[in-house]
């Protein structure tokens, strides 16, 4: 079964449009949601949470309609937002008291376990917390009602590498349960490269690709060549192109096949960040 199924999702604003977005997050996996700021990641998440209204298309979470079964779905989702949390004049202990009344499955001992693990005080006002501590608290809160799906909107942005790696470890732990899934939007692609099973890339409101990470890294490559060789490369093989002092860099797909085709040329592996940059900033792509 799939944790999330998004079909032909569209939403129009005055200055921005989400165009027929499709992706599927299978149960038991982590999906990284990438794209530059304003690509439509937050809009998509808001639509899934029924905070914005869908113009057309459908969203199913745990196989249920996101609107009809909203309350049921939300009881099983943990959400971490980059903005939007408790007012800062509140203490973690009080958060537990509040959540106990909101989530049917709130687990206070588990919440205190997380606080302990993250070395967060239970009786201090949130306003005295650092950004990293606040984020850890948000994540502890999101995990303490035994959610099946964790949705994170830019949750690790602005955190130092130590805190980020602590959080990523927690995600990997959470995903050990086959029933659990994570949708994780971020523009820190290195984090996603570490933990994600699938990568969905949004650009200007449309999906560029939504594929398994391993296949992506296996499939895409960077062809390096000089000006003369560049002319011999089939235009159909070029997905993105960048010219520098040292020659031409070409984003290609089907790396292994092309290695056979262009025997004299070098085809390197490429990181997700570079793939993203090629699409966003490249001169040409199809």
């Amino acid at each position: 079964m799939n944790a999330i199924e998004v079909n032909d999702l569209s939403k129009r604003f005055d200055s921005f449009q989400l165009k027929k977005v499709n992706f599927t997050l299978p149960k038991g996996s982590i999906m990284g949601f990438i794209g530059e700021n304003g690509a439509g990641k937050t809009t998509t998440i808001k639509l899934m949470l029924n905070q914005l209204w869908v113009d057309s298309g459908s969203i199913q979470i745990f196989g249920l309609d996101h609107k009809v079964d909203e309350k049921k779905i939300k009881n099983d989702i943990g959400v971490v937002l980059d903005e939007g949390y408790f007012y800062e004049n509140i203490k973690p202990r009080q958060i537990s008291k509040i959540m106990e009344k909101i989530y049917t499955q709130w687990d206070a001992p588990l919440f205190y376990d997380y606080l302990n693990r993250f070395r967060l005080p239970t009786d201090k006002l949130i306003k005295d917390f650092s950004r990293g501590m606040k984020m850890k608290l948000s994540i502890a809160t999101a995990l303490s009602h035994h959610p099946k799906l964790l949705m994170l909107d830019e949750a690790t942005s602005g955190l130092d590498p130590v805190v980020r790696s602590e959080i990523l470890d927690l995600f990997l732990e959470f995903i050990q349960d086959e029933d659990h899934s994570i949708l994780f939007s971020s523009h820190i692609t290195s984090d996603l490269e570490k933990v994600a099973d699938y990568i969905t890339f949004l650009h200007e409101g449309g999906i560029i690709f939504s594929e398994s990470k391993d296949e992506l890294l296996h499939d895409y490559g960077l062809l390096l060549c000089g000006g003369e060789d560049y002319k011999t490369v089939d235009k159909g093989d070029i997905i993105g192109h960048r010219e520098s002092r040292f020659g031409h860099e070409i984003l290609v797909k089907n790396k292994e096949r092309l290695k056979q085709k262009y025997k004299g040329l070098i085809i390197d592996s490429i990181s997700i960040e570079e793939i993203m940059l090629f699409y966003v900033k490249g001169e040409e792509f199809k």
Binding site: W53, K74, G84, K97, I98, I102, T104
Partner: protein, 210 residues
């Protein structure tokens, strides 16, 4: 919904301390007036209304709406909680200030202002407060709390202006008996008005994109 009430009470707790200070301050100020009870109660209940509005400000500061709408809470519940909060705050303030002024009246009685008149006066103040907040809440749900502060002034200015205008036009104040029968009907009218206001707010908030 109970969780939301907890949340508002926790966040307003800081504010509650200021309220207690005001309570003492206004008890002292009103002691010098002809009828300390109505002034004191009026002010305390007004403060409770402002507390409701403050809870919206805190929500806006924390961008709470988006977070709340990721939880298993319906939009109806979110609206209902604010109405319940305003009623709880209003009655808590009314009972507290009524008790204090009753004690004060024991020591410094005001002529012609017995227990019955005191109860009528308190009821009227509660109804007036709920009337104002009933107008204000849908406006806050529609326009947000910051813009609604302007309405707050308008809402208070309008009835005052109306009374002054009527007075200038030479209309005499109604008789005491007429006033008393009006006060008896008032709570029912306010109850209906409040319900209507709630339904309007639910409608507004349910169609809102966050």
């Amino acid at each position: 919904m109970i969780g939301l009430l907890y949340k508002d009470f926790y966040t307003l707790r800081q504010y509650g301390k200021t309220m207690l200070f005001m309570l003492v301050l206004f008890a002292v100020i009103s002691a010098g007036l002809d009828n300390p009870a109505t002034f004191f109660e009026g002010f305390i209940i007004l403060m409770s209304m402002i507390m409701t509005i403050t809870s919206f400000s805190y929500d806006a500061l924390a961008k709470w709406d988006r977070y709340a709408l990721s939880m298993p809470l319906t939009r109806k519940e979110i609206v209902a909680e604010k109405y319940l909060l305003s009623i709880i705050l209003c009655f808590a303030a009314a009972i507290l200030s009524f008790l204090i002024s009753t004690v004060v009246l024991q020591f410094a009685p005001v002529e012609g202002f017995g227990m019955t008149a005191h109860l009528y006066a308190t009821t009227t103040i509660i109804c007036a407060a709920l009337f104002f907040i009933g107008i204000l809440l849908p406006l806050i749900f529609q326009f947000g709390v910051e813009k609604s502060r302007v309405f707050l002034i308008a809402i208070f200015a309008a009835p005052t202006a109306a009374v002054i205008t009527l007075d200038k036009m030479g209309l005499s104040m109604p008789s005491e008996a007429a006033l008393f029968s009006f006060v008896k009907l008032l709570p029912f009218g306010i109850l209906l008005f409040y319900l209507l206001s709630y339904l309007i707010s639910v409608r507004i908030y349910s169609s809102k994109e966050i």
